[in-house]
Amino acid sequence: MKRLFLATTVVALGVTAVFALWVTPPRAEQGFDAVRLLYLHVPTAWIAYLAFGITALASLLWLVPRTRDTAWDLLAGASAEVGVVFTALTLLLGSLWGRPAWGTWWEWDARLTTTAILFFLYLGYLALRRTGATSDERGKRSAIAALIAFADVPVNYLSVTWWQTLHQQGTVFNKNLNVQIDGSMAFTLILAVVAFTLLYGYLVLERFQLAQLEEGREARELELAIAERLRTEHSEVVPA
């Protein structure tokens, strides 16, 4: 089943690449091919929001006593890690697009800055998850940290409207702009979003299973340590 999932994801990504690189037109007025980065930059940014949204939701489910389960904590961690990879790529791809479009690799623009903050907030969250603690302590503090970090997501999304700096405003869902998008471009963008969503799902599934294994190893190490301690104590009490 997982192999079929992976195969579907690879095919969807491959078809997206073919459409993005060979079928869609460059930006009409300049023969500007860097616009093809749109099919990577926009979906990776959207999927990063999705990833952090899932992290926040799973964290909330962990915090509510009735739904508390270690699986929510592990899912939150897995989704955050995948989200950090997507955010890093969003920044990198934006920089690659910004150089030919704006003439600069980086600008302290509102959208770029809040994206960088988002990246570092979740890096901090991942670091926090690795500090030594019991499963419950880790779950509690990371769930709270995840909910605090998630506050930057709406700020990041609305930053282009609130501050109107260098980064363009949202175009796809912006009713005021009445954007006319070429049919093949709109299709490729939707396809890219679907393909990257599948990729996100696959990576989270793999990362979640790895987290379960790591949890199992920790439990096993704890069991061995307790057994060793009991054995030592027993040998001290019973004279040879």
Binding site: D33, L37, L96, W97, P100, L203, E206, Q209, L210, R220
Partner: protein
């Protein structure tokens, strides 16, 4: 070919390398852990 194709090629290459490396890293680490754990903890 316009000069900004180099940015496009860089973007697609970096994205591919990042995702493939990350997926391979997860799978290898999981395989390693499965080997080190006793049978009852395996999938």
């Amino acid at each position: 070919m316009s000069h900004n194709w180099s940015f496009v090629i860089a973007g697609y290459s970096i994205t591919t390398v990042v995702f493939v490396s990350y997926a391979v890293w997860i799978r290898q680490k999981a395989r390693q852990l499965r080997r080190s754990l006793p049978d009852e903890n395996r999938d």
